[in-house]
């Protein structure tokens, strides 16, 4: 057994092509990003080496830390929303009528490009003609909120859109994982008299714990580098109230022509992701698996 499964040549054959692709197309840009971060460069003309100046500025840049806080909040909300996705997936995995159809319907939003999703949510949040405020006005609310224009609400308004946008992504992963649980285990528990909630909690969840851990990492890392809807829906405004790390980085690099600083922000973001992933690995490590 060990001999066959330890064949060095086979391992190399299986791993190297993919490793080659990512080392060239991902590690090369990562290294260059770190390198640009040491430069004073507008992305257009000559570069000048400034050492760690950009990184030093970063540590005292209030706007950066504000946007970092927003990114962390998004990460927290996305992780919490995994519970909701999981519950929906568990219900749909049960033997209820129409679950196949419902599951397909639930995944529809993930097919839409962010351009479409942003337009939809702009229409939902429009302060005068929007779906929510039309409804609120109809039921007699006078001072309807202005959502995306309100510095206190804007971030959470977008979070709702993002959480909705990603529902399909996680439900499809959880659904596939739940389908992978052998029917016999569930049947055995039923014969023993377990109710659906007990089956879900005691049998299904432990069996897909590996998948759950993966989705936690995906949700956190994905949130920390999230960009799309925020950039289209608010551009980070009003006055930075919905700025996140990636949109801040983009503005620095592409709009304000401080490519060196933007790269430093990008590289720092990568470091934050690494540290957090490492922490998650430590916190959720278990004996019988490879730690990831």
């Amino acid at each position: 057994m060990n001999k066959v499964m330890s064949n060095k040549w086979v391992i190399a054959l299986y791993v190297l092509p993919a490793l080659l692709v990512i080392s060239v197309l991902i590690y090369f840009p990562i290294i260059l990003t770190g390198y640009y971060g040491l430069m004073d460069w507008d992305g257009i003309g000559e570069m000048t080496f400034v050492g760690l100046e950009n990184y030093a500025n970063l540590l005292t840049d209030e706007k950066f830390w504000d946007s970092a806080l927003h990114s962390f909040l998004l990460a927290a909300f996305s992780t919490l929303s995994l519970v909701g996705y999981l519950i929906i997936s568990l219900i749909l995995a049960g033997k209820i009528k129409g679950s196949e159809l419902l599951r397909k319907i639930y995944l529809i939003p993930m097919l839409l490009s962010s351009v479409a999703i942003a337009q939809l949510w702009l229409k939902i949040y429009d302060p005068n003609n929007g779906i929510i405020n039309s409804f609120l006005t109809a039921v007699g609310v006078e001072n309807t909120p202005v959502w995306l224009a309100d510095s206190n609400l804007v971030l959470y308004s977008i979070f709702v859109a993002i959480i909705w946008q990603y529902a399909g992504f996680y439900i499809i992963i959880y659904s596939a994982a739940l389908k992978g649980i052998p029917e016999s285990l569930v049947e055995a528990a039923k014969i023993d008299g377990a109710n659906p909630i007990q089956i879900a909690y005691k049998i299904k969840l432990p069996l897909i714990s590996g998948v759950i851990k993966v989705t936690i990492i995906l949700a956190i890392v994905g949130s920390l580098k999230y960009f799309d809807l925020i950039y289209v829906m608010t551009g980070g405004g009003p006055n930075g109230a919905s700025e996140v790390i990636a949109s801040y980085m983009y503005k620095q690099a592409f709009s304000t022509n401080d490519f060196g600083y933007g790269s430093a922000v990008g590289f720092f973001l990568l470091v934050i992701c690494l540290v957090i992933t490492w922490l998650i690995r430590k916190l959720t490590a278990s004996e019988d698996e490879i730690q990831y």
């Binding site: 507008d42 000559e46 302060p127 959502w147 224009a149 608010t234 405004g237 009003p238 006055n239 304000t256």
Partner: protein, 442 residues
């Protein structure tokens, strides 16, 4: 064992075919580009031209461009113009990436002043003074080509010129017995009447905060005169000038009166314009690039188009600025890449393009060109003729603040505009913050 061999070879095929494809196309495209660029003394010289008028959104622009290119190619045997078109945002992004890799197109579009500066400093754009002297010496409206000049050299040939009037809905004004205001006090009265009647006075898409910036710039001009803001920016003056603080205070007064559409800080300009077109708001301050919307755009109801009028931004009593001073400026212009293989041809093409564009753009696409327009012989909607006349009488043209200043300070300015309109900062803080940003940059 057979299976094993099969699967291994399958994998190898996948990987190697990719590599091969990469290599083969490698040689293919390199030989192609050599032929195209003609740097080896080939017969055909290719000018790469990148612009931002796609057929879908800017059909007329696109057609004019194509006809100019056809004409140029038939006039100049052996020169070919290859076009790449991108949407506005993507254009800016790609220009940057191309520039970082030294791969700028031979001819492309640039914005003036602050946008152009890093490209000039990075030695990416060619000087065009020779072309202007030779072919276009008296072609441009005074002040337009200068917006593309740095240290006495010109790096862009302007294609458009816009000023910014206040458009208003005559039907709504009539309904409440209102007239186009000439002074700021009158404007406030108009606003008050509309607010009292539950009509949104002004629509504003301040998510794109350059829109709010235009309101601020006008008030700064009307209160402090055209030099005050310009001096603050070029550091002969200060942003904490009382006139600039007062202008900010006036903005907040308008906001407090309820002059602007609800939720303006979250609305984009397209959405804000929608309120005006759907007659849900009475006034809209926007540049003349929107003139086609009020005149020729069949998508908007005729009745609405007929009811749109415009007035010049009102004067402030006791203020320095006069009514014929405008916020505006040239939009895009053409640049020629410094490292172009076909620089001479590219310059020649750019000059030809500007000339032909000036002849056709206003009649065919409704774009007011930066070259002088002879209104006597053209058949234009009345609003165009009025605007062109106003342009002739203009006493001053102040370039949009976010274009005028460097991108870094522009970002601060735009953020502060949102904060000012949103009531998050006092006028004093608003001024102080920008003074700080400008001073830091010196």
């Amino acid at each position: 064992m057979k299976k094993k061999a099969l699967s291994v070879s399958f994998l190898l095929i996948v990987v190697t075919s990719l590599m091969l494809a990469a290599c083969s196309s490698d040689t293919e495209s390199s030989s192609e580009s050599e032929n195209e660029s003609g740097s080896n003394g080939g017969d055909v010289k290719t000018i790469d031209f990148m612009h931002l008028w796609p057929e879908g959104s800017s059909k007329q622009h696109n057609e004019i461009v194509n006809s100019i290119i056809d004409e140029y190619e038939s006039n100049n045997e052996g020169v070919e113009v290859e076009v790449e078109i991108l949407g506005n945002e993507q254009y800016k992004e790609k220009l940057k990436v191309l520039s970082a890799s030294n791969e700028l197109p031979d001819v492309g579009m640039t914005w003036s002043a602050g946008f152009l500066e890093p490209y000039v400093e990075g030695n990416k754009f060619a000087t065009l003074d020779d072309v202007i002297e030779e072919n276009l010496s008296d072609a441009f409206v005074p002040g337009t080509a200068e917006a593309y000049a740095l240290d006495g050299n010109t790096y862009g040939l302007p294609l458009e010129l816009n000023i910014t009037p206040v458009y208003y809905n005559k039907a709504i004004f009539d309904e409440y017995g209102l007239e186009a205001p000439e002074s700021f006090e009158e404007l406030k009265e108009v606003v008050q009447t509309l607010v009292d009647n539950g009509v949104t006075p002004i629509t504003l898409g301040n998510k794109d905060s350059w829109t709010g910036s235009m309101w601020y710039m006008y008030l700064a001009d009307r209160i402090g005169g055209p030099e005050t803001l310009t001096n603050a920016i070029n550091r002969t003056g200060s942003f904490e000038d009382p006139a600039l603080v007062e202008a900010a205070a006036q903005i907040q007064e308008l906001v407090d009166m309820g002059a602007f559409v609800k939720g303006f800080n979250g609305l984009g300009n397209d959405e804000a314009k929608g309120y005006f077109i759907n007659e849900q708001a009475a006034m809209y301050l926007m540049a003349t690039w929107d003139l086609p919307e009020w005149t020729t755009n069949e998508d908007n109801p005729q009745e609405f188009r007929d009811s749109v009028g415009y007035f010049k931004f009102p004067t402030v009593e006791g203020g320095e600025g006069d009514i014929n001073s405008y916020v505006g400026g040239p939009g895009v212009g053409l640049f020629v890449a410094e490292e172009s293989d076909v620089k001479e041809e590219a310059k020649d093409f750019a000059a030809f393009f500007v000339e032909k564009w000036g002849e056709q753009s206003v009649t065919k696409a409704g774009v007011i060109p930066a070259t002088k327009v002879d209104t006597s012989e053209t058949d234009l909607p009345q609003m165009y003729i009025d605007i062109l006349n106003d342009l002739n009488d203009a006493s001053n043209l102040t370039l949009y603040a976010d274009v005028q200043i460097s991108p870094g300070v522009a970002e601060v300015h735009l953020n502060m505009i949102q904060a000012l309109f949103g009531g998050e900062v006092t006028p004093e803080e608003f001024a102080a913050e920008q003074e700080q940003a400008l001073a830091d940059e010196e």
